[in-house]
């Protein structure tokens, strides 16, 4: 007899084979040993389903778009995790939208996951982002402090990101900066964040009942533990001094190293070379553009340009 979970998957057009493949992708992303996919599958099939409140503040919705680019992952995540509030996706508007958020906070205090996208403006009393007549800061305070955990997705929610670029006209801060002492807080920087890492973070929690190990900047080690440069498929060209020197030159056409074109791979720690984007289709360096360092703190203020080579040090 089919379980509820199997029936739900079937309705969404996901086969058991898709599901098990998803579980092994999660295990591989998390760097878990072979065979861990089975434990993940079991946890997702039988475990509880925490609701999610997805807050958007000073954002471009790029992280939500990144989230939606992986239909299979999302269908499975929706099945394991119910999304109760997301301004761009939910049906209700106005007070009814806010009602969904408040009801989730009330009914699932300490049980829901709060995802934050975008920075929180603190200048001029917080007027630069208002939802339902309230400041982003007061909404974040109310929602994040009662959550099981807060996940800050994208660079803006991590360190203020784009809005906090000099001269930071609105006093924008990341979640950690706006709500000091908030715990647990998991940061998934990147512009946008990578959906595989968000999914893997939640899957890790559902499987182990604890959050993945974080680095000193609150980022999961599985996703931000390694430098892009040393894992780059163009790294052998770097070693052999084969550099792209102008867009479209022979080296560019041959897929040589983008260091001279300003690639920030040697200073950036992220697993995008592994998980890629848009359903694993490609990533910036694969498409022939240098890394802009979007998973690094304050990457918007790297002088003098994204296109200048990194200085020697």
């Amino acid at each position: 007899m089919k379980s509820d979970f199997e029936e739900k998957m079937e309705k969404q057009g996901i086969t058991r084979r898709d599901f098990l493949k998803f579980c092994s992708v999660m295990a591989a992303t998390l760097g878990l040993p072979a065979g861990s996919g089975r434990a993940i599958a079991q946890a997702l099939e039988t475990g509880p389903r925490p609701p999610i409140i997805w807050l958007e503040f000073q954002d471009c919705t790029g992280d939500s778009e990144s989230f939606l680019r992986e239909p299979t992952l999302i269908n499975l995540l929706f099945d394991s995790v119910s999304l109760n509030y997301h301004e761009t996706l939910m049906a209700p508007s106005g007070t009814l939208a806010e009602k969904s958020r408040l009801e989730t906070i009330r009914n699932y205090a300490g049980q829901y996951i709060c995802v934050v996208e975008g920075s929180i403006p603190t200048g001029s009393g917080g007027v630069y982002a208002m939802i339902g007549g309230r400041t982003a800061l007061s909404i974040a305070q109310e929602t994040c402090t009662k959550a099981l955990a807060t996940i800050a997705v994208g660079n803006c929610a991590w360190d203020g990101g784009l809005a906090a670029a000099a001269p930071n006209p609105t006093g924008a801060k990341g979640v950690g900066g706006a709500l000091p002492g908030l715990s647990p807080l998991i940061n998934l920087p990147g512009c946008p964040m990578n959906v595989v890492n968000l999914t893997a973070t939640i899957v890790y929690f559902l499987t182990n009942n604890q959050w993945p190990a974080l680095d000193s900047q609150g980022r999961p080690q599985f996703a931000y533990g390694q430098e892009i440069h040393e894992n780059c498929p163009r790294h052998n060209h770097f070693e052999a001094d084969r550099f792209v020197r102008a867009w479209g030159d022979q080296g560019h056409q041959s897929g040589w190293c983008l260091f001279m074109m300003g690639c920030k791979g040697p200073r950036t720690r992220h697993n995008c070379w592994q998980v890629k984007w848009n359903g694993g289709i490609n990533w910036p360096i694969g498409a022939g553009h240098g890394c802009i360092g979007c998973a690094s703190a304050n990457f918007w203020d790297q002088p003098p340009s994204f296109y200048n080579p990194l200085p020697d040090d």
């Binding site: 471009c60 919705t61 992280d63 939910m90 403006p121 784009l162 006209p169 340009s305």
Partner: protein
């Protein structure tokens, strides 16, 4: 007479012939939008829309290398 679609009304006040309706947030769009209307005798007499979020990208772009501009402006909207 056109009917005002009421289920999403945020707050309303006034007499049956004059009513103020605010919908904030407007969902299923990118950004934070607020719509305020003044209803007179069942018709929208005045309507105001307001973008409720500001980042100051024009200010941030000042003085930067022009080659970088697209990387910033691309983030105006990620949809």
């Amino acid at each position: 007479m056109p009917q005002v679609f009421l289920p999403f009304v945020a707050n309303s006040a006034g007499s049956p012939t004059s009513q103020r309706i605010v919908i904030d947030p407007i969902t299923r769009i990118e950004g934070h939008l607020r719509i305020e209307t003044q209803i007179e005798n069942g018709r929208v007499a005045e309507a105001y829309s307001a973008a409720m979020m500001f980042r100051g990208l024009e200010i941030i772009l000042k003085g930067r290398d022009p080659r970088d501009a697209w990387i910033y402006t691309q983030r105006i909207c990620g949809v």
